[in-house]
Amino acid sequence: MYDATVMQPIAQGLLTIDAAGDPVITGEGFASVSRVTGTGDFLIDFDMGTGTSDVGSGSPSVVDGQAVSGIFADGIIGPNGIDPARTIVVLTMRGNSTAPLVPATPGSTTIATLSFEFISPTPGEGATQLRVFLRNAADAATDPMGAGVANVNGSGLEILVWTLASADNVSQQAIGPLYQPSFSFP
């Protein structure tokens, strides 16, 4: 099969709510999660260094012995983060029941709309955060589960994030041998 565009997974996780009512993100590629306005509204930080254009990640304010201007507050030389135009996100709800074959609790979810936006806190950088918003059929903001337990809303939110790397566009080259051009001429 010919891959018109290579998709590289850069983050995946499961967003749940702990017993204290705080959001928790597990998996890979995500550093932390917090609430924004309250119920159903979450801000997720990507791991530092996520993103194919993140060539200067982690560098201090001095490069090769020279002070570098335009340094971002966290010490990253841009461009940092991911390109929203080349990134694909999948959000999937897990059902609500730990006894899913009991007809009274069929393992459904009340979450009807799952939406997100990329957040770029620093002008000139790529997106380093993902804001996720969950609502029920009445358009009320809703958590993906109860505090530490599944409830009628579900038992967690699965998140997948891919970035696209086209073999025809080496300026957006991703990391790894699969993404290297076959030939390179000066």
Binding site: P9, I10, A11, Q12, G13, L14, T16, T26, G27, E28, G29, V90, T92, M93, R94, G95, N96, S97, T98, P100, L101, V102, P103, P106, G107, S108, T109, T110, I111, A112, A137, M145, G148, V149, A150, G154, S155, G156, E158, I159, L160
Partner: protein, 123 residues
């Protein structure tokens, strides 16, 4: 990080069938007239040793994507919510069945015409 696709295909509800890879059977669990289907994963998926690790609230290292296919012109659907659960079936092996639950815009369990599903194991 890598994702390995262990099953993908289309569930057609009128015939209760699956076309794709990684799923050997589609059934309707007893007690449900609509809105609930049970997919049985192929025997031998990744050695069938935890191909889909069990777990409801824990991170089970499996991720899914579900997309309803509409019908008519334009392709409409009444399905408002979709959910997935990984059912523990074999102790110390993992879930060998995946349940999909769909509910319409009146909060009633309902079947779509068909839906696409992809299941990945993450490493």
């Amino acid at each position: 990080m890598s994702l390995e696709c262990i099953a993908q295909g289309v569930v057609t509800y009128s015939s209760l069938s699956f076309s794709g890879e990684g799923v050997s059977d589609v059934t309707r669990p007893a007690g449900f007239a609509a809105g609930v289907v049970l997919l049985t994963l192929d025997v031998g998926l990744i050695g069938n040793a935890g191909a889909v690790p069990p777990g409801i609230l824990s991170d089970s290292d499996v991720r899914s994507m579900i997309t309803v296919r509409g019908s008519g012109v334009p392709p409409a659907t009444t399905i408002a919510t979709k959910a997935v659960l990984y059912l523990t079936d074999v102790p110390f092996v993992g879930a060998t069945q995946v349940m999909i639950v769909t509910v319409d815009n009146t909060a009633v369990l309902a079947d779509p015409d068909s839906l696409e599903i992809a299941i990945w194991r993450v490493f």
